[in-house]
Amino acid sequence: MSNDTSALNQYVIFKLQEEHYGISIKDVETIEKVSEITRLPNSPSYVQGVINLRGEVVPVIDLRKRFEMEIKENTEETRIIILNIEEMIIGIVVDSSSEVLTIPVDTIDNTFDLVNTLEDDYVKGIGKVEDRMIIILDMLKALNITAS
C-alpha cells in the first residue's frame, strides 16, 4: 500500500518555455528521444504527426502548439513523453525532461485559490519542491479527451 500512495505523488517533470510541468507518473509509459515524425494531414493543428514506437503507430502532440506558445525547433534536449491515458497511447513533445519528483499532496496548492490565467482548466494545481514551482497538469483535459 505504501508504494501505491507514494506512486500517486510521483510526477514526471518536464520543461516547456522555462516553466516546469508535472504529469502523474501513472499516466506515463516511457520517455523517448525524438525520432522521425510523419506529418498527419487534416488533423488538428497541435497534432504534430505520428511516430513508429516499436512497431506501433503513435500520435504525437506538440504541447507548445496546444498551449499556444511560440514554436521552437527541436533540440538535442527535446523529448517525447509517451502517455497511456484512457487506454490510448499518445506522445507529447516537450523541451526537455529528466527527472521524477515526489510532491507531497499538502504542498500542492489548488488553482481555484489562485488567479487562473490559463484559458482551460487543465492545471490541477501548483506544487512546490524546494524553490521550484511545478505546474501539475490534468492530461485528460489538456489533450481534450472526454473520459469514457
Binding site: P41, N42, V57, P59
Partner: protein
C-alpha cells in the same frame, strides 16, 4: 462450486446447438415425416438439457425436458407433425435462445419462467391421437421397405458393377476394455477398401458404446472375402469374425423378409436400424463438413497475426538492405524468407477465416417470420455459404444483411395481387449469394420484386428536403438510387416494424464502408433489384502502391486502384474550378493528392503528371502524385482512438526503414 469457468464453454456449445436446432426445425417444417430430423432435434434438446442442468439453469432444463417428451411422442407416432407443432417448437427455440442470451449478458438465465410453453407442450402430449398407432404403423412399414430398398438398391447396383457385397459379423472379446475404440478400428480398417452401407447397431451407437459385444456391417467392396477377413484378423481383441458373401448366399433369403411375409419378427429391429441408418448418414455428412477443430480464443489469433505482421515488416526491411548493398547469396535467402512469410500470412489468415454460413444460417428463419408477418410468400435461395471471410467481418456483416433482406421483402417484393397482375410467380424470390472475387468477397442480395421506382425516390427526396426540385431534374438514374443511402430516407408507404424507419440503408452503407467495403445497387423496373456488397478479404495486411507526394510517402490500397497513367498538363480542363481530363473517351475528374493532403512545398510545374486512377463502384477519380515508388505488402495499423476520423487517411503502416507512411482513404474523395 464456481461455474464461471465453464460458462464460456456452455455459451459456445449451446449457441452451436441452438443454431443447428433452428436449421433442423426449418428442414423438418419442409419434410415433417423425416425421422432423422426428429432424432437430431431430440438429440440436441437432450444435450441442452444435460448441459443446462449441470450449470444449474433450471428453466432451460425443464423446457428442454418437456420438448423431449413431445419429440418422443412424435417419434413414436402418437403426435402428428403439423404446422402447429412446428410453431410451438419454434416458440420453444426462441425462448431457449432468449435464456441463452440472458446467460451471456447477466450470467444467469433470468427469472422468467416458461410455464406457458411447458403447459402447451404438455397439453399437446396429452392429446395423443388415438387410432393413430395403426396408421403410423402402416407408415412405418412403408418407410422400412423404402429404406430397405435403399440398401437393396445399393446391393443391386454393386452386383451390376461386379462388386462384392458382404455381411460381416464381429464378436468382440468380452475382455475388451474400449469396445467403441476397437469397433472404430474395425470400421476404419474396412473403410480403406470398402464402403459400409449398413450397420447394426448404427455407427453412432457403436461410437457411443451402445452395444454389447456384437455388431454387424454390410459392405460393398472390390476385394475378395479372404482379403477382408485377413485384414480384420490382424486386429486384436476380436473373438470371431464372420464374413458372408450376400450375393451368392443369404441375400435372397433376406430379400424375402422385406416382402412383408416375415415382417413382424424383424420389424422392430429393422425399424430402429433404419432410422438410425438415416441418422448415421447425417452424422457422417456433418462430420465431413466440420472436420477436426480446435476452439481458439480470438485474442490469441490476433496476437499471432501481430507477430506475422512484424515478420513481414522485418522481411521488407531485409529486402531494402539487399537493394542497397547487393550482397551475394542474400538475394536467394530473402526470396526464400519472402515465400515463407507469405505462406505463413496466408495460413494465419485462413485460421481467421470462417464460412459465411455462420451469418447466412439465421436468415431462413428470419425470412420465414418476416414473410408470414407481411403475408407474402417468399422463398429464400442461399448460395455460396461456404465462402470464407475474416472472422471480424462475420461479426459485423450480419446486421447490414438483415436490413437488406428485410428491405427486399418489404419494399422489393410486391404484394400478392400486384404479382399476379404482372404475371409473376406468386411466390417472391430473394437470393442471397456470396462468392470470392479476386482480393475481395462479394455478397449479393437480389429480389425479383418491382425494382426501385426512380420517380418515387425523387419525389420522396424532394419531400424530405434531401434535394431540390431543380436538382432532381438534373439527376441521372444512378444518382437518384444513391439517395436511398442518404440518412433520413425511406420510401415505404406504410411504416412497419420491419423496415421504413428510414435509417436502414444509411446505416448499411456506413457499416460496410467502415469494413473497407462498398455497396452498389442494380435495379430494373418490374424485374427486381440487386444490392452488391464488396468486402476486402483481409483486413490487416494488404497490397498497396507506395507513392511520393512532395517529400512525403503515402500508400494507396491496390484494391482501390484501377490503373496508373500519365496525363499531359495541357490536356487538363477546368470545369467550374474542378479539373477534368478526357480519358478513354470519358471525363475523368482530376484531384491533386498534394492539395487534398495539404502537403507543403510541392512543385506544381510539370509537362505531364503521374495519375493514379482510383475507383469506387462505377466512378473513377484520377489522383495526381509526384512519383511511384512501387507495390508493397503493408500491415495496416490504426491511428488509434485519439485520431479517429481523419479525413482522407485510412490508417498508417510502418515501412521497411522504420518510418511511418499514411494509407490514403481514396473512398473519402468521391
Amino acid at each position: 462450486m464456481d461455474m464461471n469457468q465453464y460458462l464460456d464453454i456452455f455459451m459456445e456449445e449451446s449457441r452451436e446447438h441452438l443454431q443447428s436446432m433452428n436449421d433442423i426445425l426449418m428442414k423438418l417444417e419442409n419434410a415433417p415425416q423425416d425421422m432423422s430430423f426428429l432424432n437430431e432435434i431430440f438429440r440436441i434438446a437432450h444435450t441442452l438439457k444435460g448441459m443446462s442442468g449441470t450449470m444449474g439453469f433450471n428453466n432451460i432444463a425443464s423446457l428442454t425436458h418437456e420438448m423431449e417428451n413431445v419429440l418422443d411422442s412424435i417419434r413414436s407416432g402418437s403426435i402428428n407433425v403439423d404446422s402447429k407443432v412446428i410453431d410451438l417448437l419454434f416458440e420453444c427455440f426462441d425462448k431457449l435462445e432468449k435464456y441463452v442470451n440472458n446467460v451471456e449478458q447477466h450470467n444467469s438465465e433470468g427469472n422468467e419462467g416458461s410455464d406457458e410453453l411447458i403447459d402447451k407442450l404438455k397439453s399437446l402430449n396429452n392429446t395423443k391421437v388415438k387410432n393413430r398407432d395403426l396408421v403410423e404403423e402402416l407408415k412405418d412399414n412403408h418407410m422400412e421397405i423404402e429404406i430397405n430398398q435403399y440398401v437393396d438398391h445399393a446391393i443391386n447396383k454393386a452386383t451390376e458393377k461386379g462388386l462384392n457385397v458382404y455381411l460381416v459379423k464381429i464378436h468382440l472379446d468380452p475382455k475388451c476394455m474400449l469396445k467403441s475404440a476397437r469397433a472404430y478400428i474395425v470400421i476404419n480398417t474396412l473403410e480403406k477398401n470398402c464402403e459400409i452401407i449398413h450397420s447394426t447397431p448404427s455407427i453412432e451407437d457403436i461410437e457411443d458404446e451402445k452395444f454389447e459385444f456384437y455388431f454387424q456391417l454390410i459392405l460393398i467392396s472390390k476385394q475378395e472375402k479372404e482379403v477382408i477377413h485377413k485384414e480384420l484378423a490382424s486386429i486384436s481383441e476380436l473373438e470371431s469374425i464372420e464374413c458372408i458373401d450376400l450375393i451368392n448366399e443369404s441375400y435372397s433369403v433376406k430379400r424375402e423378409t422385406n416382402n412383408n411375409d416375415n415382417l413382424q419378427e424383424k420389424e422392430d429391429t429393422e425399424k430402429i436400424a433404419n432410422t438410425l441408418l438415416d441418422k448415421k448418414e447425417e452424422t457422417i455428412s456433418k462430420k465431413s463438413k466440420t472436420g477436426k477443430t480446435v476452439r481458439v480464443d480470438i485474442d490469441r489469433l490476433d496476437n499471432l497475426m501481430n507477430l506475422v505482421s512484424e515478420l513481414i515488416i522485418i522481411k521488407t526491411r531485409l529486402e531494402d538492405i539487399e537493394d542497397s548493398e547487393k550482397k551475394q547469396g542474400m538475394n536467394e535467402t530473402t526470396e526464400h524468407l519472402e515465400r515463407i512469410t507469405t505462406s505463413l500470412h496466408d495460413a494465419v489468415m485462413k485460421v481467421r477465416m470462417v464460412p459465411i454460413e455462420r451469418v447466412f444460417n439465421r436468415f431462413p428463419r428470419m425470412v420465414r417470420d418476416v414473410s408470414r408477418e407481411l403475408n407474402k410468400e417468399i422463398s429464400l435461395i442461399l448460395s455460396g455459404e461456404d465462402t470464407e471471410v475474416d472472422r471480424s467481418v462475420i461479426d459485423e456483416i450480419g446486421d447490414p444483411l438483415i436490413h437488406l433482406i428485410r428491405n427486399s421483402i418489404d419494399h422489393g417484393i410486391e404484394d400478392l395481387e400486384t404479382r399476379v397482375q404482372n404475371n409473376k410467380d406468386k411466390k417472391g424470390t430473394v437470393k442471397l449469394a456470396a462468392y470470392p472475387d479476386g482480393n475481395s468477397v462479394v455478397i449479393e442480395v437480389e429480389d425479383d420484386g418491382g425494382g426501385i421506382d426512380i420517380e418515387k425516390v425523387k419525389h420522396k427526396a424532394i419531400e424530405k428536403g434531401v434535394i431540390t426540385i431543380k436538382q432532381s431534374e438534373m439527376m441521372e438514374e444512378n444518382e437518384v438510387i444513391q439517395l436511398l443511402f442518404h440518412s433520413g430516407f425511406s420510401t415505404a408507404q406504410k411504416v412497419s416494424d420491419i423496415s421504413g424507419r428510414g435509417v436502414g440503408l444509411d446505416v448499411v452503407k456506413t457499416k460496410i464502408e467502415s469494413l473497407g467495403g462498398t455497396v452498389e445497387v442494380i435495379t430494373e423496373k418490374c424485374k427486381g433489384s440487386r444490392f452488391v456488397i464488396r468486402l476486402p478479404l483481409t483486413l490487416a495486411i494488404i497490397q498497396a502502391l507506395l507513392v511520393n507526394v512532395g517529400s512525403e510517402k503515402y500508400a494507396i490500397p491496390l484494391n482501390n486502384i484501377k490503373e496508373i497513367t500519365t496525363i499531359a498538363t495541357n490536356s487538363i480542363r477546368k470545369v467550374q474550378k474542378n479539373e477534368v481530363v478526357l480519358f478513354r473517351n470519358s471525363t475523368l475528374p482530376i484531384l491533386r493528392l498534394a492539395k487534398l493532403l495539404n502537403v507543403p512545398n510541392v512543385e506544381d510545374e510539370n509537362d505531364e503528371y503521374t495519375v493514379v486512377i482510383v475507383k469506387k463502384g462505377e466512378k473513377d477519380i484520377g489522383l495526381v502524385v509526384d512519383d511511384l515508388i512501387g507495390q508493397q505488402e503493408i500491415v495496416i495499423k490504426s491511428l488509434g482512438k485519439f485520431l479517429s476520423n481523419i479525413k482522407g487517411i485510412a490508417g498508417a503502416t510502418i515501412l521497411g526503414n522504420g518510418s511511418v507512411a499514411l494509407i490514403v482513404d481514396t473512398n473519402s474523395f468521391f
